[in-house]
């Protein structure tokens, strides 16, 4: 049977590890502080006869690869191309959390936005219109409370529909200024043919404009190397890819 690989992304301390434990039944130590998960953890679960492997990525605020943990998260989404990426957002600080979601939407089509800590938000009087958000972002949005196991079934059903192709997403892609957009189009056409088609060419072009040449070379070499070493700010970190 096919095994679906699912990545969990999100800001630090949004309850990714709690959701991970809830879904996989694993006892990964959770803690209420940022930076708990620096290396990704893997666990598996079954839902309605489908097999899933869940990968808990390090919590990060962005995916610009400023630090080793951001690079681990970004590389997993790009190189390992999970069947779906669940972006876990903290309902109580949605604005800051959406920054990461928008970046993930630039990288892959198969995204589910999962708004966690929804009961905490409701206590604070915060209401979130998830249907509207789903329309704006073009991907499914599910509200949950991982701690109290609310909304988990809806999340799993959505996940299974997504991996079976029953939901077609039209992810929102960031639009930038006219200059940047023109440059992206130009670079995108120049880069054509250099990479495997499975990599998101618009995103790759944007990264190159941002000066991330290392990533571009890594993309091309990736096929040949199973295990490779990443240098971040001169500090080498061994990353499984």
């Amino acid at each position: 049977m096919r095994v679906n690989r699912i990545a969990l992304a999100g800001n630090p301390n949004t309850g990714k590890s709690t959701l991970f434990n809830t879904l996989t039944g694993l006892k990964q130590h959770t803690g209420n502080w940022p930076g708990k998960t620096v290396v990704h953890a893997e666990g598996s679960f079954e839902h309605k006869g489908e097999q899933y492997i869940l990968v808990d990525l390090p919590g990060t605020y962005s995916l610009f690869s400023n630090s080793a943990d951001e690079e681990v998260a970004r590389d997993y989404i790009i190189f390992d191309q999970p069947d779906a990426t669940i972006v876990v957002l903290d309902a109580t600080s949605l604005e800051r959390n959406l920054n990461l979601a928008l970046q993930v939407l630039e990288m892959t089509n198969n995204v589910i936005i999962c708004i966690n800590l929804i009961d905490e938000a409701e206590k604070k009087g915060i209401r979130i219109d998830e249907k509207r958000l789903a329309r704006e972002l073009g991907v499914p949005v599910v509200k949950i409370s991982a701690r109290n196991k609310k909304g988990i079934n809806r999340l799993l059903d959505t996940l299974s529909q997504l991996v079976k192709g029953q939901i077609v997403t039209t992810p929102y892609r960031m639009k930038y200024s006219k200059e940047i957009e023109e440059a992206i189009t130009k670079v995108e056409s120049k880069l054509e043919g250099y990479f495997d088609e499975k990599y998101p060419s618009r995103w790759v072009a944007l990264r190159l404009l941002d000066g991330d040449e290392e990533l571009i070379l890594k993309l091309q070499n990736h096929k040949n190397n199973k295990q490779h070493e990443v240098r971040t700010n001169g500090v080498p970190v061994s990353v499984k890819s």
Binding site: T30, N32, L98
Partner: protein
């Protein structure tokens, strides 16, 4: 790959040159600010706030991270944890000890009725059973109390507040504010904290965090500190006052660890790792009520059980080995004593003895096993003490010539000495540098030797011991 053409730096540069009117330094700022703007406008559309009173979390933070109350509250919390641990551990420790003593008597009778040879009784009952019994009775109760309380505090979200309070100090010491987070994690496990230094972007500041992480006591060393503090550090007091003073001494040790961390960071950032600290924003998560029983259960099962298991798995074979080595003679001295005697002059100079040195060296794989090895080694020396209560254990130490100075210096050495094997392996994996891995071994070791030597010399010069 679709195309066989080779992409290299010069090709990339060529592509970029054509569009370089936008590919400048500002592009990252523009991208980020566009993303922020979009998030903001999305939120306007989908989020509605009903009442915006100041949340409980914010009110609590005004107190917990206040300039005046932040530190006192931290110390009081820490003191309270120690107090509960010490006060609560005594009775169950004694109970477990007498249970093992009772079982030992039954086992001895069983061996006698079976006419088992004397050496078998020696190895299995006097070595293995008695040694393991001591380890469980002195280590299990404090851990079963300390770890759950610590885990509750962690899950409430207090640790980031500790980091927040310490942040300014670390910046002044030339380190990264996030170093206070990785340090806080070190209280749990140094080996895991080394991995957590990945959250620090700058390699210089990350190295500072790696090199100094060992100066806060981890799970493996808490039992040593708590046990020795409660046995030796308070003699003039008893009852609740005694417990309070013991808790105070433990706080002192934690603070010493933090002071050493800051001093070493400061010295390194002025010498081998020069640089200016980068700035960052530390996010304070809201206080969350943890799942109370879940946390307690998981901490007891995962942490206390795990540490104990590691201790016993090593202690059991170690007790047999120690018994064997203590009973095999080369010339007129046992193998164990040859090793101990060799280390003894060095140990004495540091206010300790050869046994303690041997325990620290053999305990390199994991700090949990230092106390077990030491107890095994002492128990194998002639007068075998039956397990009855904790005062008996103190008698074992005193019979070996221990004074308050021995206990103090063993605690100091435990706090400051080289990281455990797992931590060293992680440091090597993270830095890929034999030089810095060696430094992370050398710096604490030199400090531990220096500090204990100084304490011993001063105490002896003044005739305090």
């Amino acid at each position: 790959m679709e195309s066989q053409s080779v992409l290299n730096h010069s090709v990339l540069k060529g592509i970029l040159a054509e569009v370089n009117e936008v590919s400048n330094e500002d592009i990252r700022d523009e991208i980020v600010s566009d993303i922020y703007t979009k998030s903001k406008s999305l939120c306007k559309k989908v989020v509605s706030q009903q009442h915006s009173a100041m949340y409980r979390s914010d009110k609590l933070d005004e107190i917990f991270t206040s300039r005046i109350w932040g530190f006192p509250i931290m110390l009081i919390m820490l003191g309270a944890i120690f107090y509960i641990t010490i006060a609560g551990a005594n009775v169950p420790s004694d109970m477990i000890a007498s249970l093992f003593g009772y079982l030992e008597g039954k086992l001895t009778i069983l061996f006698e009725t079976m006419h088992a040879p004397e050496w078998l009784h020696g190895i299995l009952v006097l070595g293995l059973f008695r040694g393991t019994g001591w380890v469980i009775s002195v280590m299990l109760p404090p851990m079963a109390i300390f770890f759950p309380i610590f885990a509750l505090l962690e899950n409430y979200g207090y640790l980031p507040r500790v980091a927040f309070n310490m942040d300014r100090l670390f910046k002044r010491a030339g380190g990264h504010g996030k170093q206070s987070l990785t340090m806080a994690m070190g209280f749990g496990c140094n080996a895991a904290a080394i991995l957590s230094t990945r959250i620090i972007e700058s390699p210089r500041e990350r190295m500072l965090a790696i090199l100094t992480n060992n100066f806060v006591p981890c799970n493996g060393r808490w039992p040593t500190l708590i046990l020795l503090a409660s046995l030796f550090m308070v003699t003039g007091f008893s009852g609740a006052t005694g417990t309070l003073v013991t808790a105070g001494i433990l706080i002192g040790f934690v603070m010493l660890g933090v002071v050493v961390t800051l001093s070493v960071s400061w010295i390194l950032s002025k010498t081998a790792l020069k640089g200016v600290p980068t700035h960052y924003t530390l996010e304070l998560p809201p206080f969350r009520k943890p799942k109370f029983w879940n946390t307690i259960l998981r901490a007891s099962l995962d942490k206390a059980w795990y540490v104990l298991k590691r201790a016993v798995i090593v202690a059991a074979p170690a007790s047999i080995l120690t018994w064997v080595f203590a009973n095999i003679y080369v010339g007129d001295t046992s193998i164990l004593m040859h090793f101990v005697n060799f280390l003894d002059p060095f140990g004495q100079a540091l206010g300790m003895d050869g046994f303690i040195m041997a325990a620290f060296i053999l305990g390199l794989p994991a700090n949990e096993i230092v106390i077990p090895i030491l107890i095994m080694a002492y128990l194998s020396q002639g007068a075998m003490l039956e397990i009855e209560d904790l005062s008996k254990l103190k008698q074992v130490f005193i019979d070996q010539g221990w004074t308050w100075l021995t206990a103090l210096n063993m605690m100091l050495f435990s706090l400051l000495h080289f990281p455990c094997g797992t931590t060293l392996v992680n440091i090597y994996k993270e830095t890929k540098s034999p030089k810095w891995t060696f430094m992370s071994f050398l710096i604490p070791t030199v400090i531990a030797i220096g500090v204990t030597w100084l304490t011993a010399t001063v105490a002896r010069a003044f005739g305090w011991v």
